[in-house]
Assembly symmetry: C2
Homo-oligomer: 187 residues x 2
């Protein structure tokens, strides 16, 4: 239910072709709702059929020919309705937590290296978000739109902060355990 609304949002910000949307997803909306170009093309087709968007008139529409879309009033209305609707929070779904749980049963075979790898990735994502924050949200910008966009970015920052802290803690906890084992073995 979310992808069509993600696309409507992106198209309202700026009318675009499928490929442009795919590229923009990769570096902004995709930070919290990713999509492949395939999904995007399919969804654009549906949205057009449902009369929520339309292709901008541009000669003969053909394969390999760029096709720009813009949002129709019905599309804007649908998005507005979705924003003020109500939904359950997404349940957590994380394979890494699952792997830790499995490790409690079959043993941690090299899992620590994986934790360190993830820690690095989350740290660099966090750094990227902080750079965006400094660039796009200086203290003087303070319209309602800015606050909302900033809140979203703070969400990303908060999540990455959580992961870096949790991974660091967990590595410490497992590391200590290993040191204990070493000590016992040497006795």
């Amino acid at each position: 239910m979310s992808l069509p609304h993600a696309i409507l949002t992106a198209l309202l910000e700026k009318p675009s072709s499928g490929l442009e949307l795919a590229r923009r997803f990769d570096k902004s909306i995709g930070y919290f709702w990713s999509a492949t170009h395939q999904q995007i093309y399919r969804e654009l087709g549906k949205l057009e059929q449902d009369g929520l968007i339309r292709a901008l008139p541009a000669g003969a529409p053909a394969r390999g020919q760029k096709k720009e879309y813009e949002v129709l009033p019905a599309g804007r209305d649908a998005l507005t309705a979705w924003v003020s609707g109500s939904d359950a929070p997404r349940p957590v779904r994380d394979p890494l937590l699952l792997r830790l749980r499995a490790a409690a049963v079959v043993g941690t075979g090299g899992l620590e290296e994986e934790l360190r790898r993830h820690l690095d990735l989350h740290r660099s994502q966090l750094a990227e978000y902080r750079a965006i924050e400094e660039r796009d949200f200086p203290p003087e910008r303070d319209g309602e739109e800015d606050r909302l966009r900033h809140a979203v970015l703070r969400g990303g920052i908060g999540l990455e902060t959580f992961w870096t802290e949790w991974l660091a803690e967990t590595l410490t906890a497992l590391g200590e355990r290993n040191e204990e084992k070493e000590r016992k073995r040497r006795q």
Copy 2:
């Protein structure tokens, strides 16, 4: 790729029937990898076909008849391999963040109420996790398995903590804005 491994883990912890698994998912593994009974039955079938688990012998297997499964050595091996494998961190996928972003374009129509509702839900989930922590992880328990399971739980606690803090902050930020508007209107 994760569901079969979630099931293997649960079955190693205790051999069970499909429905028992579904119930256990609802109150432990499901906290970070949920699954419906449908998914579970389908996956049990596949795992049995692949020779990773087997049904415990119990009379005539028929519809409506309980069928217990246990993990075979090949299943344990597969799980071990998965634990020590490598995977990219899950990209964030959250409709609420998306709705905020959309709200920056079409306006926040009653979205604050939704934020408050989510805040309540996350608070009570957090309380539930903390209760589990006190019950299951007193300071003296400190085997490797306990540390791993505790780390997973701390993950859940950290995530819920993040959400409650972020939601509270965001509500404050939006509230202030509304107060400003009120003030201007009254001038």
